[in-house]
Amino acid sequence: MNADPPQNRGLTAINSAMVLIVVLLIVQIWLLSATLESYLAGHREVAVPGAIISGILFAACLGLYLSVDRIDSEVRKG
């Protein structure tokens, strides 16, 4: 039996999602700097995979944000 109240469980889920978003964001910042550096070095072929991967990372961040929003609303309703 789980004695943890729903508020605490919701908070844990939200914190986990936030940490995951931060990790994804760090990867995305690195990806942008690496893509830009390669592009400026004349390797223009990296632009397409860079944009696709960045799009996937943004979609993941957006999904996590929406789930945080949903969990937050559910917890507040009780």
């Binding site: 914190n15 936030m18 910042i29 942008l32 830009l36 945080v68 929003d69």
Partner: protein, 170 residues
């Protein structure tokens, strides 16, 4: 209309401006997550901008340009010129009796002008001590991440000609 203030333990200014700094500065987890997601969107926009620049990139034309006569420079001598446009400073170095090298003079770190250090036989950027090889323009030391773009040279009838740029920044 209330003419008199209700009895309160708070000072008058707090009744009239009931805004608390701590409440003002409080950021909820939801707001913080939204901020992170918007930052992620900003990163995506950056990548899309690189993609757009890449798709619409047009390579500049590289005309043949006379730089100097072969005997104009002594060994270790330097001549500055612009190539392929008047806004692109370059440097020509005579590194040996029959060896010449020419590179863009803009450091690939923050575009300071590089110069030829004869004693060390390398190109140096004075701003942040970025050093480049005279042989191929590769980074030897310092913050630059990319080699210097190289000017392709051709010797025609004792004249040194610039014919193309290699490793040029987009």
């Amino acid at each position: 209309m209330k003419w008199f203030r209700k009895p309160s333990s708070a000072p008058l200014w707090q009744d009239e401006f009931p805004v608390f700094t701590a409440d003002e500065r409080y950021v909820s987890r939801r707001q913080f997550t939204k901020f992170l997601t918007l930052t992620s969107f900003g990163m995506l926009v950056g990548n899309l901008w690189v993609l757009a620049r890449s798709v619409f990139y047009r390579s500049p034309s590289h005309p043949r340009q006379l730089l100097a006569a072969a005997d104009e420079l002594a060994v270790g001598g330097v001549k500055l010129f612009t190539y392929p446009t008047a806004e692109d400073p370059c440097i020509l170095v005579r590194t040996g009796d029959n060896y010449y090298a020419a590179y863009s003079q803009k450091c690939t770190h923050l575009s300071c002008a590089v110069y030829y250090a004869k004693e060390q036989n390398r190109l140096e950027c004075p701003c942040h001590e970025g050093f480049f090889s005279i042989a191929d323009g590769a980074v030897l030391q310092g913050p630059p991440q990319r080699a210097l773009p190289r000017v392709a040279l051709e010797m025609t009838d004792g004249q040194i000609m610039a014919v193309a740029m290699e490793g040029e920044s987009a």
